[in-house]
Symmetry: C2
Subunit: 339 residues, 2 copies
């Protein structure tokens, strides 16, 4: 079933199916270019809750609920849930998915969490540990600003390299058996290493994460012995416009030109001009909701046959930033093919 490939990758001969998925986003994301594709759009970013953290928890709860519903499954059909978020001690996850009573394996990969949870979920299914699992992740603009940057009321200026944390959550039901509504197959995995070029600017996370994305994409192509042309799209999570230029340059140095097939979820989710989001969207939710709403739709409709999905994460905290540490990056690659 499973083949270890090269240094960091695995091929799944018996593939794992994404049998259903769901996305929920905030008002601003609903007004963006992908707005009509999301399953649910909030009227405001509190989602009827008393705090931003609770609102983020409710996003995870709702995304899992919708993904299970579309798959016509109950929580008890899921053997494990792989879940995580950006908040300290992953509280959006704990308080969001607790009531489902699904055995939890909590993950942390900053904004690469969607890739990490799909990776571990695929391993559990392909390895025979589970027939069905659910993977979920989220982010919320306001809870993230509070966690990482300044109080919203402070009204600080944002440099043009900054990204805007997506309010949203995406959930994915993975299974060993292909179901009728299967959206995609997962056929390969490349687990990322931490890459640190010494950058310290938390307002330019695209540049901080681009070296990790370049490392994972380069290693993926080497491990699988293939060229970028193998993929209809190579899709990063949330590098934004600044990070994209760094990624393309770094991959050119490795001998790969992916400019004609690179897409970044952070650059798709907002209209940078009219929505004032500067370099683009970011956060765990960014790649997760774009995967569910847009990328899987293209695979389902066979507009794309095969893509490499590479969510990217910046491994900083408020404490590490204030103590003068760098902002290292990580990125995990998942090969997705038409169902």
């Amino acid at each position: 079933m499973t083949m270890q490939l090269g240094k960091q990758s695995a091929g799944l001969d018996g593939p794992v199916y994404i049998n259903s998925s769901a996305s929920i986003v905030g008002k601003k994301e609903g007004e963006g270019p992908l707005g009509l594709l999301f399953d649910m759009v909030g009227e405001d970013d509190m989602f009827g809750c008393a705090s931003w953290e609770e609102a983020e928890s409710s996003l995870q709860k709702d995304a899992v609920y919708m993904a299970l519903g579309k798959a016509e499954k109950k929580p008890e059909d899921m053997r494990f849930i792989f879940a995580g978020d950006l908040l300290g001690q992953s509280i959006a996850t704990s308080f969001g998915i607790m009531n489902y009573g699904i055995p939890l394996l909590g993950v942390y990969g900053a904004c690469s969490t969607c890739g990490e949870s799909l990776t571990l979920g695929s391993m559990a299914v392909a390895g025979g540990f589970a027939d069905q699992v659910v993977c979920v992740t989220s982010s919320h603009f306001a809870s993230a600003e509070k966690e990482f940057r300044f109080p919203l009321g402070y009204g600080n200026q944002r440099p043009l390299s900054a990204t805007w944390t997506v309010t949203g959550s995406g959930a994915f039901v993975l299974g060993k058996e292909k179901e009728q509504k299967a959206r995609a197959r997962i056929t390969g995995l490349t687990v990322g290493k931490i890459v640190d070029y010494g950058l310290k600017d938390s307002m330019n996370m695209g540049a901080c994460m681009a070296p990790a994305a370049a490392s994972t994409i380069g290693q993926h192509l080497e491990d699988f012995g293939c060229q970028p042309e193998e993929y209809d799209k190579i899709i990063t999570g949330d590098l934004g416009s600044v990070g994209q230029t760094v990624l393309l340059d770094l991959l050119r140095e490795k001998g790969y030109d992916i400019a004609d097939r690179h897409m970044d979820c952070g650059m798709e989710i907002y209209d940078a001009e009219s929505q004032d989001t500067h370099a683009g969207g970011s956060g765990c939710g960014c790649s997760a909701v774009t995967l569910s709403a847009y990328i899987l739709k293209q695979l389902e409709e066979k507009n794309w046959k095969k893509v490499l999905f590479v969510p990217t994460g910046a491994l900083l905290s408020k404490t590490s930033f204030n103590e003068g540490q760098t902002v290292p990056g990580i990125a995990h690659g998942v090969v997705l093919e038409s169902p």
Copy 2:
């Protein structure tokens, strides 16, 4: 190789071996009852670093270094590292293990992280995704007090139900093949669910986590169709003396009496009388260093043949606590047998 058992468990027919392990602790832990068993004891809790967070990172770095050294392996022999800690955004991990360049799958399970990382590491090995992986986790008294409670200089009083966060890190090299110095076999896994009895007292985390430990242990016995007598010891992570009484009571309600074979790492690591640690030790490091230094030694020397190791975690953050949320618990069970 793998058999799904009951609702939350898996049996590993082809077992996974813990081929080496290492522990490093702070001064206070070195002065405790297990002091002579640890591989390394720091002279002070800064470990030559400029901040507590850096000190905690250095613990993970050193634990992995020693575990690899004992196994006579290099970082590049490890396909993945499963790692996590208690700090927001797991910065002790990111800055601790970055330079090894091992593909990282970051985990978060609060103080159950040692159990979660061994669970996922075993899945990766038994599932054919890796021949060898390393699992590491840590905690640090001072970085945890800062992250969760009060500034140390504030000198707040601690209630008798409070536990003392262990300064320490434990690392474990898992492999498909049994090596000469193998310390134990992993033969079963039970993944825990979040259990929330509505308690809100972060100074009584033993009571908050005990229901999760009872849930996992009860489900484990049901899934494997066995009785507590199957195990020489049933070992929780850091319930402490208050949590222990809750656990024993809850399991009696389920029809299981484990009083004669229950052990709690938090109650072993300090001398509660002379070291003023109240209910016992806690933190990801508590179960990890006790496993490496004490539990694996008993299995190696065949004093015990089979134990159920159940690290326990409290899923709170400073934010969730201050917002009035409960303190839910989680616990993951790992069956360890003599090598």
